[in-house]
Amino acid sequence: MKLRMRIRKGREVKYISQLDMMRALERAMRRAKLPVKFTEGFNPRPKMSFTPAIPVGITSDAEYMDVEFKGKLPLEEIYDRLNSTLPPGIDLLKVGDAEGKLPLSSVNRALYTVVVGLGGASREALEEAIGKILSSTEIKVVKKSKGKEKEVNIAPWIYEIKVNTAENDRFTLKMELAAGQDASVTPFMVIDALREYVPSINVLCVNKDELFVFDGGEKVFPL
């Protein structure tokens, strides 16, 4: 059976890479003695697939993994066994059947919570900067991929930025950004763009809250 899991990447593991995360999950499943299916051939790999990688330094409540098991097991049992063997900072939040769900490769948007310090700048300045970013048609960012540098325009991929709460100098922002295979924007890129207007802004922490497909005015969640 093919299962879909929603996984939390907590503070303890926020610097590990996607590859490290995959290895940690594979090992946790071996400790839990879960019957994971492996690929055939010379170098068998567990049949696991993931949503696109997030930059290191971000915590997340919305990492998804599809994994194939031999035979059938009750979902509650999988949930309990895996959670008991996962390392500190990684949690299985939810597990369900992956059949009939949208493919993980089709997700295209994410919602982030970003806590920033303004370094003395005012809320008005921040709000104004956000307004400018949301109304720009061109924000150029240099992206590195496969060793090559490429300039891309991220403006069309920034859908929403809101100031949620404020506490002294600390502001909590909500950002809805492209997060798919074709287009993706990280909160760090948005902060860099805001820095043009508010030079003293700095990131305190970033969490990925949700990941989904936005299609025809509707949000569809992977699980």
């Binding site: 303890e12 610097y15 590859l19």
Partner: protein, 618 residues
């Protein structure tokens, strides 16, 4: 807590931040207030290298088994992190509780490689702990060191407070008990160090006086006080089946050098290669039983989830019942998709069959270590491998589908001539010929020839020998570079300047402590990393300290010379080493005593009651 908060700010700015975070599965967190001894296990290299070291993992888990002890880890910060630590004046901290190293009761360094000594000094400096033992106050940590390089403690004798010689599973616990007792009685630092000398295997260099001859050689090393032992006997574990072995190993997140479950199958080696220090100092041979190993392997995989088990020893194929062990392990773990790897394998028809069955090795290619290019020189170094053995094994490997082999050699071995170097070239080309015969063409073949330069080591038959001069190392490498030109052959060589410094420190004396400090002041660290190594800084350090490095590396010692490392007793007779040296000069081999008679290495005398597995005793 304070450092933990600063980390959030600095970690996004450094490469591989996972190195400094900890929190791995099976790492140990304790309340610092509920313990009696707080020990930092410090490894003078980066996390990925240190975490790959079995000894560190054994001691970490062994110490943390005790409720009254909290052992944490500390590694050398990479240069980008070091810059930030210095800029922000953050002291070097432990991985688990992020406690500054200076606040620990003890800091224990692992000495695996001479060229990590500059990192050790740098780590002390970054911790704010005085570099020299004599400058430390009562509230400074006790600085301890152990590991193979500790068999010649003298180059670090003014820096390290206390050396633990040999296998430390028992002595480290005795030391901890002594520490607790001493701390409860609020004793002085000097009292602790003096008492520690009563624990067998402990060397406290500040309690020994060194005198020199006019020619600069050491005349003697004598205890300053009565009751301090004249020579420090190494410790070793008699019964490997019942010694503590960790199964709940830390599982790192980041890819470390050796990221797998390590199963130690035996200690010691009696092959008797004359250049090999490990083959002498780790005697006698002691094995774990197949049954015990199977239990350990099962517990390890249950606790770690590792996808690979690696057998660890000095020479895997010498394990008495390797076939049975491999059968049990492969049967046990096949369904759980756990692979098996057998490093340090002497490849012959039997092991080739094993390797073929487990297939795991196939990915990485096969490694052969003939060490020398001619039979004459292999007899000199007592490497019992013939050209015929090698070519047969290589043929078997090619027939089984391998197409990449690595050949390891040493250059500059005693009595080596250019004829022996030609032998390396010939052997490499013969391997290519074998492939052509097996496969019909050379297509797909890759033969990697690697040479390191011979470094004479303490407590080996070659401890009297000179290393060839640096210019000569370069000449011989140039010769090989020119001769090993073939589309199928890749030639790698170890930097001769590093081998030269290794030779200096491996047989150095106390005068080198000052050189180390100077080299550190000039910025030397991570010398083993080619992009960080600065030979010119080292040469300046020697010249400013008024020490001639050639005196240690390139000088032929006379038979009667007293060596600085002779304050340590590894249980091997100097007379045996001398006999072996003389046989070497006549190219006369000494067979493995496990299958031959006893050659009188002396190990049976170190402790009453131990027995060697030899056929006849002299």
């Amino acid at each position: 807590m304070e450092i933990e908060n600063i980390l959030d700010e600095i970690l996004p700015k450094v490469s591989k931040p996972t190195r400094y975070v900890g929190n791995e599965l099976n790492s140990v967190k304790k309340d610092k207030n509920g313990i009696k001894v707080h020990i930092a296990l410090a490894f003078p290299d980066v996390y990925e290298v240190g975490m790959s070291h079995l000894g560190l993992r054994i001691l970490y888990h062994l110490l943390n088994e005790r409720e009254d002890v909290y052992a944490e880890r500390a590694f050398a910060p990479w240069v980008d992190m070091e810059d930030i630590l210095r800029q922000k004046k953050i002291p070097l901290f432990s991985l688990e509780s992020k406690t500054p190293l200076s606040e620990f009761d003890m800091i224990g360094f692992s000495l695996q490689y001479e060229m990590s000594y500059s990192n050790l000094v740098n780590m002390l400096e970054l911790s704010g702990v005085p570099i020299f033992s004599s400058e430390r106050k009562d509230n400074d940590p006790i600085v301890i060191a152990g590991g193979p390089c500790a068999y010649n403690p003298e180059p670090l004798a003014e820096i390290i407070d206390l050396f633990v010689i040999g296998e430390a599973e028992e002595s480290i616990l005795e030391l901890v008990d002594l520490y607790i007792n001493w701390k409860e009685n609020a004793g002085k630092r000097s009292e602790f160090l003096e008492k520690a000398t009563q624990i067998p295997g402990v060397y406290v260099p500040s309690l020994y006086h060194v005198t020199y001859n006019e020619d600069g050689t050491v005349r003697e090393i004598v205890p300053k006080k009565e009751g301090v032992p004249e020579r420090v006997k190494k410790r070793f574990i008699e019964d490997l089946d019942n010694v503590y072995y960790p199964t709940k190993l830390i599982v790192p997140y980041t890819d470390i050098v050796h990221d797998r479950a390590v199963l130690e199958i035996f200690r010691g080696c009696t092959r008797g290669c004359r250049f090999c220090q490990a083959g002498m100092i780790y005697r006698p041979v002691r094995e774990k039983s197949v049954e015990k190993l199977a239990d350990i392997a099962r517990e390890m995989i249950d606790a770690t989830g590792y996808e690979e088990i690696s057998l660890a020893s000095l020479s895997t194929s010498d394990y008495s019942d390797l076939k049975k062990l491999v059968e049990i392990l492969t049967a046990e773990f096949k369904d759980r998709r756990v692979g098996l790897s057998l490093p340090s394998l002497r490849i012959d028809s039997f092991t080739l069959d094993l390797a073929r069955r487990i297939m795991e090795i196939k990915k990485s290619g096969l490694t052969f270590a003939p060490e020398a290019g001619t039979q004459r020189l292999r007899d000199v170094i007592n490497k019992g491998v013939t050209e015929e053995d090698l070519l047969n094994s290589v043929r078997g490997a090619f027939e089984a589908g391998w197409n990449s082999v690595k050949l390891y050699f040493m250059i500059g071995l005693p009595t080596e001539t250019y004829e022996d170097l030609e032998g390396i070239v010939d052997l490499a080309h013969k391997v290519v010929d074998v492939y052509r015969k097996v496969k019909g063409s050379g297509k797909g073949l890759r033969v990697t020839v690697s040479t390191s330069t011979f470094v004479p080591k303490p407590f080996t038959p070659f401890q009297w020998e000179a290393q060839i001069p640096l210019e000569e190392i370069n000449e011989r490498q140039k010769f090989l570079k020119k001769k090993l030109k073939s589309p199928h052959i890749i030639y790698n060589w170890h930097d001769g300047r590093l081998s030269f410094l290794e030779a200096v420190f491996s047989r150095g004396d106390r005068k080198l402590n000052g050189v180390l400090k100077k080299a550190r002041e000039k910025g030397c660290r991570f010398d083993g990393w080619s992009d960080m190594f600065s030979f010119s800084k080292w040469m300046e350090a020697f010249s400013e300290a008024g020490v001639d490095p050639g005196f240690y590396a390139n000088r032929l010692r006379r038979e009667g010379e007293f060596f600085p490392w002779e304050v340590i007793d590894p249980g091997i007779d100097k007379n045996f080493l001398l006999r072996e040296l003389k046989k070497a000069k006549m190219a006369e081999p000494t067979p493995d005593c496990r299958f031959d008679r006893c050659h009188g290495c002396g190990i049976i005398k170190i402790k009453g009651g131990i027995r060697c597995e030899v056929k006849n005793e002299d």
